[in-house]
Amino acid sequence: MSTTTLPTRRRGVDYKKFLANNGALVGLVVLCLALFIATPDFLTGPNLLNIGIQVSTVAVLAFGMTFVIVAGGIDLSVGSVAALSAMSSGWMFASAGLPGWLALVGGLVVGALAGAINGLANAYGKLPSFIATLAMLSVARGLTLVISDGRPIKTAPEVSFLGGNLGPVPMPIVILVIAALAASFLLNRTVIGRSMYAVGGNAEAARLSGLPVKRILVTVFALAGLFAALAGLLLAGRLDSAQPQAAAGYELDAIAAVVIGGASLSGGLGRISGTLVGALVLVVIRNGLNLLNVTSFWQQVVIGLVIALAVGIDVLRRKTRNS
């Protein structure tokens, strides 16, 4: 069937549905308008670039998390894996003397491997993903400290390039865009991506339909590890060094971004575009509160309330739609 056989849809009327399905986006727009009115510092070039850089780390982590949550799991280890990957990359360059580009690729491989171990423990070892990745959260952070002896390690220039600029545009933003497109392509177009929705929606039905559920789960966690590694390298690139305590607690931001973006923690639902909006909501709120001179203590309170509010609205929306 080609597009010509589709009935001509009344595009103008669908805005209600669009709003209902993109609550986070509406919230983001309202938030930006409010900040635009509240402070002249918000809508300035440097501030927007700053937001872009800030969001790149959170969003890249959260893209990986989106795969996991869509497939019905959770990954608490992404912050630690990000740090471990960056630190391993730094070690490969500074201590093992590998070429910079190889150290960069090596960091990504470490992340993917750590993720794959999560997946193996979950799919074959039958550990709930919460437990498997909680263990990895601790193991990966520990290894990071072991490798670095608790001190920062200088990273390769190739890694620093990730934190630099491409002409007027900061590299993290370029990476963010590429990562978003890649993740979205993977989730929407490929067999493995579509399978993730089936596994998250009903793993047994997916299995009985012949989908290789275990292999899919391993891939999903490996991807989450890979994206975490990329986020870790982005962070390291900005500082020209891998920090032992980098990205600590970022897993919670990543989960929050995915959930604000409309994914369901019970699996089967979620979009990369939603996650990107979710990450933007988090970062813009922090940025705005900074501009308005709200202390970081209060910021945490606000962020927590926003997460509860966003998910609460979502739950309510689904409930009214179903009845």
């Binding site: 069937m1 490929t190 929705y197 009903n202 997916a206 339909s209």
Partner: protein, 504 residues
């Protein structure tokens, strides 16, 4: 009737959005009588019982209890008037004991602590109401469905329920368990409890009911005595006569080749030494009691579970153990027992659900063939007459019959030639059942082979060309369709069944 009804829904109506689900329906429950509510899925039965239970409030008409008009703003109000519902999904906590479940929410206390002795005593008294003598300290999760149901009924009675709403209580029960339940119902009738009974098994109506209220598309169609013939009931319910409930058209199998060959299949503790063949064009039925190992057998053949020894071959090719993908590649399609839990991804669209088995095989370079998948899904949905708004609708919103057709459709798209059906019409209404049977005819006419497990004897007898009977994990016998009767099957299936078996 001169007797005053316990409960009457008087000319009630209910509208959701712009859809009228119930229009001007009147139904009464009398003391000591079983009122049967009959209708296809979507006829409005559940909406009606939810009105009685205080979940929904009628938009028009009113509710009368003991001659007084009442409003039931919530379930608590309904309970206070003695109205209790036994749902299909039981409201018990599996990890707590029977006593705790029976007394849940009103545990006897002493000095602020649970009084264990009184708890057991009161629970035992409640269970005695229906003549159930079991260890009240056993965990509810360790009981079979049938006993769990009885525990729930005892719980309702102990809260002084006078009106029991039984929503498809027999759907998951064996014949023997059903008879037990009916005995309890007969006893309750003696004691003046009014019951509202819902069942898809027409043969149970005359057995247990007094009067039948028939609904169709939310409208009151008529009230008839429970002794009305099944054909007449079907006609009232569907709105047209269904000439043949089991329209099996058998193929000539004299020249047919063996498609599925199972030899000495054994899975320790589940089934042992099972051997049989299914020919192209044949429907082989497997009968037996729940727990006889039928589902386990079918899952092993499908590759869903590993087995201990033996072989499964399709067209002479042995299949590897526990490999669903290889089974599918060999032409096997598995329609599992639990449609919602194992067959479908309920939140996903009809389109996606139809395409899971062919997602990988039709992909190019790992990219999904969206256009092709959609085209095939649209074609099959049309062919199987799956009733839906659009193919992008979540499949969970469809009726049971249409959901089941979609599971079949998945294997038709995958060009499966050996279909393993496990309770293919469970929770499917009469009209859709016949459509599924006709679909089975189409499949066998095209040379497909069907292996069907079913707990509904009329279905096994009506649709199988040959019947295997399983008992305690073994083949107890084989019957041709000519020699098979309910009695013959049950004699093979239930020989030596003792209480231990019943308790599973």
């Amino acid at each position: 009737m001169t007797q005053q009804p316990l409960l009457t829904l008087q000319n009630v109506g209910k509208v959701f959005g712009s859809v009228t689900v119930i229009n001007d329906v009147t139904v009464s429950v009398y003391p000591g009588q079983v009122q049967v509510l009959l209708g296809e899925n979507g006829a409005g039965k559940s909406t009606l019982i939810k009105m009685m239970a205080g979940v929904y409030q009628p938009d028009s008409g009113h509710i009368v209890v003991d001659g007084n008009t009442v409003t039931l703003p919530n379930t608590r109000a309904a309970e206070a008037l003695g109205i209790a519902t036994i749902h299909q999904e039981l409201n018990l906590v599996p990890s707590m004991s029977i006593a705790e479940n029976v007394m849940l929410g009103r545990m006897p206390t002493k000095h602020g602590l649970v009084d264990r002795r009184a708890l057991r005593q009161q629970a035992r008294a409640a269970l005695a109401l229906i003549g159930l003598d079991i260890d009240v300290d056993a965990l509810v999760g360790d009981l079979g469905i049938a006993r769990q149901q009885l525990v729930e009924i005892a719980k309702a009675l102990s809260i002084n329920a006078r009106i029991l709403i039984l929503d498809e209580p027999t759907a998951a029960l064996t014949r023997h368990e059903t008879e037990n339940l009916f005995a309890v119902m007969a006893d309750l009738r003696q004691r003046g409890v009014g019951m509202l009974f819902i069942s898809h098994h027409l043969d149970e109506i005359a057995e247990v009911g007094d009067t039948v209220t028939v609904l169709r598309d939310g409208e009151f169609i008529g009230e008839v005595p429970a002794s009305t013939s099944e054909d007449e009931l079907v006609k009232l319910m569907v709105g047209r006569g269904i000439e043949d409930q089991f329209p099996r058209v058998s193929e000539n199998l004299s020249q047919a080749v063996e498609v599925l060959t199972v030899e000495n299949l054994t899975s320790t503790g589940l089934f042992s030494n099972i051997s049989f063949t299914v020919k192209a064009g044949e429907v082989l039925g497997i009968a037996g009691l729940v727990g006889a190992g039928r589902t386990e057998l079918i899952r092993a053949i499908a590759g869903a579970d590993r087995y201990t020894s033996g072989t499964v071959a399709v067209r002479g090719q042995n299949l590897p153990k526990g490999d669903i993908k290889a089974a599918i590649a060999a032409g096997i399609g598995h329609v599992p027992e639990d449609r919602k839990g194992q067959g479908l991804v309920l939140d996903a669209s009809v389109n996606n659900n139809l395409g899971y088995a062919t997602l990988a095989s039709t992909a190019k370079l790992g990219l999904v063939d969206f256009a092709g998948q959609r085209r095939r899904a649209t074609e099959v949905a049309k062919r199987l007459r799956i009733r839906m708004h659009t193919i992008d609708q979540p499949i969970g919103a469809l009726s049971g019959g249409n959901q089941q057709k979609a599971v079949f459709g998945r294997w038709i798209i995958a060009a499966s030639t050996v279909l393993l059906l496990d309770e293919p019409t469970r929770g499917v209404d009469v009209g859709a059942k016949v459509e599924i049977y006709e679909l089975m005819n189409t499949i066998t006419a095209a040379g497909g082979a069907i292996l069907m497990v079913s707990s509904e004897l009329p279905e096994i007898l009506g649709m199988s060309d040959r019947i295997l009977v399983m008992r305690d994990g073994r083949l107890a016998g084989e019957l041709s369709s000519a020699e098979a009767t309910q009695d013959a099957v049950m004699t093979l299936a239930a020989r030596d069944v003792d209480e231990k078996h019943e308790q599973r």
